[in-house]
């Protein structure tokens, strides 16, 4: 039986959602941060979209947000000319980093010791978070405002995008290694460490480049202007969204359009795969985030697989089974003492 995608809508923001980022997988699950023009970035549980908290402190639109790998820290970039570092467990503001113009992008190194920022002042800044009062290392060279800045190659290099170029910098020498001229304004950039792939969107194009050489690997054309794209961790597929309010899923190898979904009520500004690839999140001008299943119909997070007839039996327990195994912590399956007795007894019967 064909299953129809049911997106999960995460409400709470009051203005357009312009950026979002997932953490890595932690023993507590994975997390999602969203940047919003309402100035209040939010942290959510990654697999359910449940709101955890709001980082309060910025005095302007938040243009960029990121989490460190273990989701203990968050960083945000805002129109109030600051980047902030937050404790992602308590929600407390840890550090405010003053800039000379709107800050658009933030990124942690893998060890969370350094923060890279980029913005309208056309400068890349590298802050040592153990010495936040110290002046950052500054990298200049962009000729227009920086839209995105990312660490790459195990934090030895930096990738940055402005309106018309993507540049690769060497961290130790702070000099430009390579530059790529892009035909149209770059709308988004994503770095995929496994395989060193750079995903860039501009116009209706979704392009994949080597992060080491900036050589193009392949590109696809979408039916509408694309604002953001994300590559699945296994590189089986990619998702993209843009000005026509729709999300598109493509086969990465063939470029074939696999699925497309309406749902948002405004242009999609950002889309990202979760670290386990089971879902992807989109942020829109309509002020919402939506979570979408990669494999439609699979039991995961808040989605449940309902199979009628003979398999109802397996469904009711299989859901519990999956819920229990995904948590992998409790020694008492689902807290049901009687079911545990039943289960253990039956296992004894079945094995004898």
């Amino acid at each position: 039986m064909a299953m129809r995608q049911t997106p999960l809508t995460c409400s709470g923001h009051t203005r357009p959602v312009v950026d979002l980022a997932f953490s890595g997988v932690t023993p507590y699950g994975y997390f999602l941060i969203s940047a919003c023009k309402d100035g209040k970035p939010m942290l959510r549980q990654g697999d359910t979209g449940d709101w955890i908290g709001t980082f309060l402190g910025h005095k302007g639109a938040v243009w960029g947000a990121t989490l460190n790998k273990d989701a203990t820290k968050a960083a945000t970039a805002a129109a109030d000319f600051t980047a902030k570092v937050w404790d992602a467990v308590s929600g407390d503001e840890l550090i405010t980093l003053a800039h000379k113009h709107i800050v658009k992008s933030v990124d942690f190194t893998q060890d969370s010791n350094y923060l890279l920022t980029g913005g309208q002042d056309k400068l890349l800044r590298i802050y040592d978070l153990s010495k936040p009062e110290a002046e950052p290392d500054v990298v200049s060279g962009h000729t227009s405002g920086i839209k995105k800045a990312l660490w790459s190659s195990d934090d030895k290099q930096i990738l940055s995008a402005d309106d018309k170029t993507v540049r690769l910098w060497d961290r130790s020498t702070m000099t430009e290694v390579k530059a790529l001229n892009v035909a149209m304004s770059v709308s988004s950039m994503e770095y995929v460490p496994e395989g060193q792939i750079l995903v860039i969107t501009y116009g209706k194009t979704i392009a994949f480049h080597s992060a080491e050489t900036l050589e193009q690997i392949k590109s696809f054309e979408a039916p509408a202007t694309i604002n953001s794209a994300s590559l699945h961790p296994e590189k089986e597929c990619l998702v993209a969204g843009g000005e026509d309010f729709k999300l598109y899923k493509y086969d990465y190898n063939t470029g074939e359009e696999l699925e497309s979904y309406k749902g948002h009520f405004g242009p999609i500004h950002c889309v990202r795969f979760s670290p386990d690839g089971e879902l992807y999140a989109s942020g829109s001008e309509d002020g919402t985030l939506r979570l979408w299943q990669t494999t439609v119909g699979k039991t995961y997070g808040l989605w449940k697989c309902v199979v009628p007839g003979k398999c109802v039996l397996l469904f009711s327990f299989s859901w519990c089974y999956l819920a229990a195994s995904s948590r992998n912590l409790s020694s008492n399956i689902n807290g049901n003492h009687h079911l545990n007795l039943l289960w253990d007894l039956y296992c004894h019967l079945a094995s004898s």
């Binding site: 129809r4 049911t6 955890i52 908290g53 467990v89 989605w303 039943l342």
Partner: protein, 133 residues
């Protein structure tokens, strides 16, 4: 016609009371759950046993089973299905069971009930004769 995927509930939104990050959210880091070789082995064993249980339940469908109930009661019936009536997670922290067994031809001291539901919390164990291979 495509059937929309069911969801357990909608994502929870801001509670409106403040900035969140309450001590009860999963984000709170208490003692990190220790994942050792022992816990991995335990988890693998439990997963295998759980899978076997589910397959056993599937095999049990349509078989005549004996149910051992609380207060030492015993009844036999043909097992139909097991489900969670209101769709919530099976069992709460208080041990209450939300599962129910749908059975046919339930033999009770009062007679044979053509179809019945046995509450999960009333069933201690059940068993059935597996067909010989």
């Amino acid at each position: 016609m495509a059937v929309p995927v069911s969801v357990l509930r909608l994502p929870r939104g801001p509670d409106g009371s403040g900035r969140g990050f309450s001590s009860t959210t999963p984000n709170r880091r208490g003692e990190a759950p220790e994942v050792t070789e022992v816990t991995k082995a335990t988890q693998a064993t439990r997963a295998a046993l759980r899978r076997r249980f589910l397959l056993s339940l599937a095999a049990a469908r349509g078989q005549t089973a004996t149910f051992v109930l609380c207060q030492h009661g015993r009844v036999s019936a043909v097992l139909g299905a097991v489900w969670v009536p209101d769709g919530t997670e099976v069992g709460g922290n208080d041990g209450s069971a939300a599962a129910a067994f749908q059975v046919d031809a339930l033999q009770t001291p009062l007679g044979v009930q053509r179809a019945a539901l046995l509450r999960g919390r009333d069933v201690v164990a059940f068993g059935f004769q597996m067909a010989e291979k």
